[in-house]
């Protein structure tokens, strides 16, 4: 179908205001939060209701058109973009459909912003636990698709652990309920398969999420170190001690300096080599004991000081520096690569040392700010992409850092997803057969690869599957297919 004909069809559904065709209007949708990747959609469409979304997806199915679901576009893996697709923006679907205080759950539309859900449930003494640093902008739909994490996921678990059920529309236009909003799942955990599918399995129309009671008491502390190594070892020691902090975040010296010279200054000691921001929660009596135990581990592990927030204002200030660190880095240089990888928690000191050697060798500045308790690193590099020499050095460093994490027994992404950015690394951790299997799973939901094409699994892994004899026999094998209609 021509762009014009398709646009006309979509205008019929959502109205002219909500279909964008001009290149200049589409420009903002060429990239996500990781500006290194640019892709040009044919059109963008912004349905205002579930009915409109369903009608749009069905119109796209009827014309065999590829599309990319998009929430707030804060993704950091080049996920919500592709060439020659219809960009399906979901940010107008932003109603919280129901809150069930007694059963600790809420049903929300995909465009609900993470923080706005939290603001809605806060007066009830509840919270939605996954708290990505982009919480003020990112959507629940995007969180589901990326299986987003955040500082407090150390204790409370990531998005996956807080999703009860999802109503989704498959790329062929069929609506399915994945998971069970009111009881156990019997049969395959299709909800689990959908979470983290990066927009490749269809579009989430509503999500039943689990809410958590606000903890009775919190203690937030900042430990500062003159050696990165000590901070890394203390992190491992806290985890090994058996205390599960609500959050355990790490910032190194370049990060501290940037934060402290920005409007988000949080009072981190500017001469520290690293700080750990640690929070424990639970009962009033329990948190004091945990606080004391952690302080002891920090001091005996070489911390210079351990400062405990005395009130909410101090706590908010300590957290602000951490949550706005990426933003503050944005001021250091015109561009910023935000990296995301995971390593076993006992390997922190070793891998951080290796990263610092890689940085020195390639003359780049790495700012480490990350979820240390989970071993989820974010070695970020501010740079000028218009300087080809610098860009090449940054690229090389990133490749080497990824390899270092994989060599340590880790993963290439802990929360930002594969998208386009990590597709080149995925073969470092998964065999061709495993990637085939992932591709098969994608094809269960999206046989034609029309929903967010070209992401997560390299195309050649899928082709290889189709060529195998077993793959062919799956097409021929009609027995189960017959049963499907009963």
């Amino acid at each position: 179908m021509s762009d014009t004909a398709l646009a006309e069809k979509l205008v019929e559904i959502v109205g002219a205001r909500f279909v964008l065709e001009r290149e200049s209007d589409l420009l903002v949708y060429n990239s996500d939060g990781l500006p290194g990747y640019r892709r040009k959609p044919r059109l963008a469409v912004f349905p205002g209701s579930r009915e409109e979304t369903v009608a749009v997806v069905r119109a796209l199915a009827a014309s065999g058109t590829s599309f990319v679901p998009r929430g707030a576009g804060t993704g950091l893996s080049g996920g919500a973009l592709a060439d020659d697709v219809v960009l399906l923006g979901l940010h107008r679907l932003k109603r919280v459909l129901s809150i069930d205080h007694e059963n600790l759950r809420a049903v929300v539309e995909p465009g609900v912003v993470n923080l706005s859900l939290n603001r809605t449930v806060a007066p009830l003494g509840l919270l939605y636990a996954p708290d990505p640093s982009s919480e003020a902008a990112c959507t629940i739909g995007g969180n589901i698709a990326e299986n987003a994490g955040g500082p407090h996921c150390l204790k409370y678990g990531v998005t996956l652990n807080h999703v009860i059920a999802i109503t989704a529309i498959l790329p062929d236009g069929e609506i399915v309920v994945l998971g069970n909003p009111e009881g156990e799942i019997d049969g395959y955990d299709l909800r689990g398969a959908f979470v983290g599918s990066e927009g490749c399995f269809g579009v989430a129309l509503d999500v039943t999420v689990r809410l958590t009671r606000k903890p009775a008491a919190l203690r937030t502390m900042l430990a500062d170190f003159v050696s990165v190594d000590d901070a890394a070892r203390v992190t491992s020691a806290i985890i090994a001690s058996g205390i599960v902090p609500a959050a355990l975040e790490f910032m190194d010296s370049p990060t501290i300096k940037v934060v402290e010279s920005s409007v988000y200054a949080a009072g981190y000691p500017a001469d520290a080599a690293a700080v750990l921001l640690i929070e424990v929660d639970g009962t009033e009596a329990g948190v004091n004991a945990d606080r004391d135990a952690i302080r002891e581990i920090c001091i005996s592990g070489g911390a210079r000081t351990v400062k405990v927030a005395q009130n909410d204002a101090e706590r908010t200030r300590l957290w602000q520096g951490r949550k706005k660190a990426f933003g503050a880095m944005g001021r250091m240089a015109p561009h910023l690569v935000v990296q995301d990888a995971v390593i076993p928690r006992t390997k922190l000191a070793e891998v951080l040392a290796r990263i610092s050697r890689i940085a020195a060798e390639h003359r780049v500045t790495v700012c480490n700010v990350f979820h240390a308790g989970d071993g989820n690193l974010h070695p970020n590099i501010p740079y000028n992409a218009d300087d080809p020499d610098e860009a090449a050095r940054v690229h090389l460093s990133m490749g080497e850092i990824m390899r270092a994490c994989v060599d340590a027994g880790g993963s290439i992404t802990g929360e930002h997803g594969v998208g386009l950015d990590k597709i080149g690394y995925i073969e470092l951790i998964f065999s061709p057969e495993s990637l085939n299997a992932m591709c098969k799973l994608r094809e269960v939901f999206d046989p034609d690869h029309r929903s967010n094409p070209g992401k997560v699994v390299p195309i050649h892994s899928c082709q290889e599957w189709r060529a195998t004899p077993a793959g062919r026999s799956s097409e021929e094998h009609g027995e189960l297919a017959g049963a499907a209609s009963t």
């Binding site: 299986n147 027994g409 802990g414 699994v457 297919a481």
Partner: protein
């Protein structure tokens, strides 16, 4: 013990052996019954298969770094073995499914089993970090990894967890461990008669600012079998630092009717299914009818009261529930037959009923299939194209 360099590395020894068996069966389109410790082969719909594929012999520890709180084991490792190893380091894998501790981890994950600790630690899906499995066409596949946070690739871990062997034979798993709570305490709370009183009791317990490890409701029969006085009772497990445990105990004591009990109760609760009515707890097992009824957690007292009525005429019937999850588990003697199972399903119309065990002839009547939907059908076809892995266990 060190981690192998990358996850893209060679298939495990177990996977190589399993792959050979499955490839052979694939060629001949010969169905396989996959088994672990063979303690629970009467669970699920009957499987017709000439050949057995046992994972029990593949039982080693592949990688355990206590400081990382993760362990990678072959599928045949038993829960008992994992418990023993991790306990040496003050850690545990907090999944306590009903049944024998000689059950294998592969079967536990494949069946998505859980027990009272699911109240606070979640179920298998929340505790498994990585899997290796062999698909029905003999491909060795890995999902997830060995680290505690990971979003690389589509989620084959969640796909295979709870799939009862119908997508692949699990050969290896990586699990998330926790430190064993330093000061475990077990408590019993009395439960007054009548639905409103029960509802109130559960609600006041669950809304305390405490975070119990487990909260389980048991009926008089189960209470007796676990060695407690024969009364309907709420069991609570607590753990944590001294101050936290003391504060939680105080708040629970303030509700009234609390006594401290022996932790052995939890271990007995795990085997309560297999105790024939009226006999000594450690007699030989007789397969019972076991049904789990679930609904929104706030409905649990409702559900409980309905179920109590539905099974009160059945001698030896018993039940327990995890109120925080909204799940009640009914155990009926085999003699209850269709009428017994039907009484439960009829009484609980707007609920989800997961059948664990039933005499084979009841399945078609009570729960013919749970994979009849289009997406599940496609999954089965994609991963087991010739339908040779535990065929029929989830229905057609």
């Amino acid at each position: 013990m060190t981690a192998s360099a990358t996850l893209a590395s060679e298939p495990s020894v177990a996977a190589q052996a399993v792959r050979d068996v499955i490839r052979n069966s694939f060629e001949q389109a010969a169905p396989l019954r996959i088994s672990g410790g063979s303690n629970w082969l009467d669970a699920g719909r009957p499987v017709t298969a000439e050949n057995n594929l046992s994972l029990a012999e593949h039982s080693g520890v592949i990688d355990y770094v206590p400081g990382d709180l993760t362990i990678t084991v072959s599928a045949g490792a038993t829960l008992r073995e994992i418990e023993r190893l991790t306990a040496e380091h003050g850690q545990w894998f907090p999944l306590d499914p009903h049944g024998s501790e000689d059950g294998t981890i592969g079967a536990t994950i494949a069946s998505g089993s859980f027990g009272p600790l699911a109240h606070s630690f979640g179920r298998a899906r929340d505790l498994v970090l990585g899997v290796e499995f062999v698909t029905g066409d003999g491909k060795v596949v890995r999902g997830g990894g060995r680290v505690v946070k990971n979003v690389a690739g589509f989620d084959l871990v969640r796909l295979v967890t709870g799939s009862w062997g119908t997508i692949g034979a699990i050969t290896e798993v990586t699990l998330r461990l926790y430190s064993r709570p330093p000061l475990p305490v077990s408590l019993a709370l009395t439960v007054p008669d009548g639905q409103p009183a029960l509802a109130h009791r559960i609600k006041s317990l669950l809304s305390l600012p405490s975070s119990p490890l487990a909260v389980e409701l048991v009926d008089t029969e189960v209470a007796g079998l676990t060695g407690l006085p024969c009364n309907k009772t709420l069991l609570v497990a607590l753990g944590g630092n001294r101050a936290a445990v003391a504060a939680q105990m105080d708040s629970i004591a303030a509700l009234g009717g609390m006594t401290e009990i022996f932790p052995e109760v939890w271990r007995r609760l795990r085997v309560v299914d297999d105790i024939p009515a009226g006999s000594h707890p450690y007699d030989h097992p007789t397969p019972n009818i076991v049904l789990r009824v679930s609904a929104l957690p706030a409905r649990i007292s409702d559900l409980w009261t309905t179920l109590e009525k539905a099974i009160e005429q059945i001698p030896g019937a018993r039940m327990h529930a995890t109120p925080g999850l909204g799940i009640a588990r009914c155990i009926l003697p085999p003699s209850a037959g269709f009428e017994g199972a039907h009484a439960v399903t009829e009484a609980c119309l707007n609920t989800t009923i997961v059948c664990e065990r039933m005499p084979r002839e009841l399945w078609p009547l009570i729960s013919p299939t749970v994979v009849g939907d289009k997406v599940s059908q496609r999954i089965k076809r994609a991963f087991d194209p010739r339908n040779i892995l535990n065929p029929g266990i989830l229905g057609r």
